[in-house]
C-alpha cells in the first residue's frame, strides 16, 4: 500500500468526534480513519479534548436510585450488535452501510457504475466505479464533497489520489477527476446534495437514476 497523502482537515475531524458531522460525511470520515493511522491519532486527540472537558464540567447530582438500577442491569443479556469488519477493499464502515452485503451496482453508462449506500434530503453517500482512463462524469456539487479512494486512483486539477486518500472539495472547486489508466477506480463519495452529473445523463433522466 502506498502512503496516504490526502487527509481529513482538523475541523472536520473535530466535528466528527463531536457528532455534528452529517451522517453521509461521517461514513466517509469513519472509513478514512479505518485506513489512516495519522487521522486516527488526530481523532483520538480530539477525543482526549472531549474527555478533558467532560472531566472539568460542572457535575449535576444523579437520582438516588440510578446507581442501584444500573448495577442490577449488568447481568442482563445484551442484544448482540452486528460488528462489520473490513471485506476486501471495503473498510468496516462501508460494509456496515452495505449491511454486510456486496454493493448493488447500477450502470450509469460508459462503464461507470454506482451503488447508493444511503441518501435522503440532507445528502448521499455512494460507491462509484470508474473504468481506468475514464473521467468521472462531469458533475457539480452544491456544497462539500468527500471522495475516498478504495481501489485504483484518480487525478484531477488538484493532484493524484490513491487508495486511502480522501479529497475534500468545497463548492468552489470545479474539478474533473479522471481515473488513472489501469485498474478501475472504486471510490466512496459523500455529498450534501444529489450529485448532478451534467454531461452523461440528460437532466430529465436524473430522477430515474437517482443521481
Amino acid at each position: 500500500m502506498t502512503a496516504i497523502t490526502h487527509h481529513i482537515p482538523d475541523d472536520i475531524l473535530a466535528a466528527y468526534a463531536a457528532g455534528s458531522l452529517p451522517h453521509h460525511y461521517a461514513v466517509a470520515v469513519a472509513s478514512h480513519v479505518s485506513l489512516c493511522t495519522q487521522c486516527r491519532a488526530s481523532l483520538e486527540a480530539h477525543q482526549t479534548m472531549g474527555g478533558a472537558l467532560l472531566e472539568t464540567t460542572e457535575a449535576v447530582a444523579v437520582s438516588g436510585n440510578m446507581k442501584a438500577d444500573l448495577l442490577a442491569q449488568l447481568d442482563a443479556p445484551a442484544k448482540p450488535e452486528p460488528v462489520y469488519s473490513r471485506r476486501g477493499i471495503y473498510p468496516g464502515p462501508v460494509v456496515a452501510a452495505l449491511k454486510g452485503q456486496g454493493p448493488a451496482w447500477k450502470s450509469l453508462g460508459m462503464g461507470v457504475r454506482q451503488s447508493i449506500l444511503s441518501q435522503d434530503k440532507h445528502g448521499s453517500v455512494r460507491l462509484l466505479y470508474i473504468p481506468g482512463g475514464q473521467a468521472v462524469p462531469d458533475h457539480g456539487h452544491n456544497g462539500l464533497e468527500m471522495t475516498l479512494v478504495l481501489q485504483g486512483s484518480f487525478s484531477d486539477e488538484t493532484g493524484r489520489f490513491g487508495v486511502g486518500d480522501i479529497e475534500i472539495a468545497n463548492e468552489d472547486l470545479e474539478h474533473t477527476p479522471i481515473a488513472d489508466p489501469g485498474d478501475p477506480c472504486i471510490c466512496l463519495a459523500a455529498t450534501d446534495a444529489p450529485l448532478r452529473f451534467n454531461a452523461l445523463v440528460p437532466r430529465l433522466l436524473q430522477p430515474l437514476f437517482r443521481i
Binding site: 457528532g19 455534528s20 479534548m49 474527555g51
Partner: protein, 186 residues
C-alpha cells in the same frame, strides 16, 4: 500486572479492573465519578434532566459491556467515555446508528506498558491545565464544539478558537499509534 499502579490515575486503575476482572466495585466507583459529570455535560446540550439520566444510564451500561475495548495506552478513561457518550447520545436522540471506524483491538496478552499509560495521562493532564487557563467565553465555545453544538463550518470559522494549539500538545499518542500500526501492517 507489572506496572506500578500507584503512579497511574485512579480512574485508569478502576477501568482496568472492570475490563480484566468485571470488578463491580470498581465500576461503582467509576459511576460515582463519571455519572454526575456526564449528566451535567449532556444537560448543556439542552437535554432535560430525565432524558440526560436516560443517556447516562445507557452510556455507563455501554462502558461495562465494551470494557474489553478500553486501551489505556491510547486513551484516557475520560476520552473513551466521552466518545461513547457522544455516540450513544446521537444514536438515542437521532435514532440512527452512527458510523464508527474499525476498532483497533489491543494485542491480547500484551503486557501493559506503564510508561506509555503514564505518558497518555500526562498529555491529558497538560490539556486539562490548558483548558483551565482559557477565558470563560473561549472555554464555552470549545465546549459547544465538542458537544456537537457547532457545525464543522462554524468550528473552522472560529479563528480565535485555540483548538489546534491545544490539541497539538497531544503528540505522544500519535507516536505510539504509528509505532503500533507499523508492527501490524508490515
Amino acid at each position: 500486572m507489572s506496572h506500578n499502579k500507584s503512579e497511574i490515575s485512579e480512574q485508569t486503575v478502576l477501568m482496568i479492573a472492570v475490563r480484566d476482572n468485571q470488578d463491580r466495585e470498581a465500576f461503582g466507583a467509576l459511576f460515582d465519578h463519571f455519572a454526575p459529570r456526564l449528566k451535567g455535560f449532556i444537560m448543556r446540550t439542552g437535554c432535560s434532566a430525565p432524558q440526560a439520566e436516560e443517556i447516562v444510564q445507557d452510556v455507563m451500561l455501554t462502558v461495562w459491556r465494551k470494557a474489553s475495548m478500553f486501551d489505556p495506552h491510547r486513551a484516557q478513561v475520560s476520552a473513551w467515555i466521552y466518545q461513547i457518550a457522544r455516540n450513544r447520545h446521537i444514536d438515542i436522540v437521532r435514532k440512527e446508528s452512527r458510523p464508527v471506524p474499525e476498532e483497533l483491538a489491543e494485542d491480547p496478552g500484551a503486557e501493559p506498558d506503564a510508561s506509555q499509560i503514564l505518558a497518555v495521562e500526562q498529555e491529558a493532564g497538560k490539556l486539562k491545565a490548558a483548558l483551565s487557563s482559557l477565558r470563560p467565553e473561549q472555554r464555552d465555545m470549545i465546549e459547544k464544539a465538542y458537544l456537537g453544538e457547532l457545525t464543522h463550518q462554524e468550528i473552522s470559522d472560529q479563528t480565535g478558537l485555540p483548538l489546534g494549539t491545544i490539541k497539538s500538545r497531544i503528540r505522544l499518542g500519535l507516536e505510539r499509534l504509528r509505532h503500533e500500526l507499523k508492527g501490524l501492517r508490515e
